[in-house]
Amino acid sequence: MLVENLTGKTDKTLVIQCQQGDSGSFRYLYQRYQAKVRSTLYQLCGNNRLDDLVQEVFLRVWKGIPKLRETAYFSTWLYRITWNVATDERRQFAKYGASVAEDLTEVETRLSRPQDSPNLMQLHYQDVIQRGLQSLSLDHRAVLVLHDLEDLPQKEVAEILHLPTGTVKSRLFYARQAIRTFLQQQGVHNASISES
């Protein structure tokens, strides 16, 4: 996937320049992708240590970029690193028991009556979806985030997660089923979904 903006240079050109040690090109890659990386990490890991995780992803990218052979597939490789950082974070979470879920109720605690205003309703739904994502297993969450939220095709999701496409399809099926059930349990009904 070739992306060309900001500098007018493709990912491939910037990656090759990075491989030659040009940190200026790396800055352009950072500016081009930091929002996607940040958003994906936020969906996968929540707000805890989000800045640290973003830094970790780009540090790994900088260290690993000389070994990247398929320079045209930089974004797939970047998502792969993001996924690795997210899974490492989950392992740390499981080991030390840090509370990722704590910040998920942050929005909810600010809400008394979400139906009072559209903005509050928006915040309410965002909170419900965030909690719904956290209720999924990391494997199901990753497929849902990458495919449905980041809008990546199933084939690319399969490459990022090193899975067969059939497994991506099955996980997507179960993930959607699970989050639909969660939304219904939270009082979000089909009518609300259709209105969006």
Binding site: S23, R27, R38, S39, L50, W62, Q126, S194
Partner: protein, 133 residues
């Protein structure tokens, strides 16, 4: 491969639209995050591709020397043990035969009348010139 049924694609599409519309938005990054990332990058300089390529030169020289040595060993003629064995058998037979001739000269002398005559001439002349005479 098992096919996962999608009885209502429209329903899935609406769910996806809902999720995208209300997706949780990551908090805005701190203004200095880019600086921090770039500072980390500067602290982790990589060796340039040129200096990495310099390692190829001694490796290539070593590989060439190994190939040359291996090649010369390979081209060296291997000793023919079968031929050596035949030669040593012939030598042994010759020695045995020769020894028999020395020990019993009559064996071959009878076979060749000329030799017998020569032998007799020699022994006769020895008898004539013998100092004991």
């Amino acid at each position: 491969m098992r096919q996962f049924p999608n009885p209502n694609p429209d329903k899935d599409e609406k769910l996806v639209q809902f999720l995208r519309h209300y997706r949780p938005i990551a908090p805005t990054p701190p203004s200095d995050l880019e600086k921090r990332v770039m500072a980390m990058v500067q602290q982790n300089p990589r060796s340039s591709p040129v200096s990495r390529k310099l390692w190829i030169i001694p490796s290539a020289i070593t590989a060439v020397l190994c190939l040359a040595w291996g090649g010369s060993r390979w081209l060296e003629p291997t000793p023919n043990f079968a031929s050596q064995e035949t030669q040593s058998q012939e030598l042994a037979a010759f020695l045995v035969d020769n020894w028999q001739n020395v020990a019993d000269p009559a064996v071959n002398l009878h076979a060749d009348p000329n030799l017998v005559n020569q032998w007799q001439a020699l022994t006769h002349s020895e008898m004539i010139t013998s100092p004991s005479d």
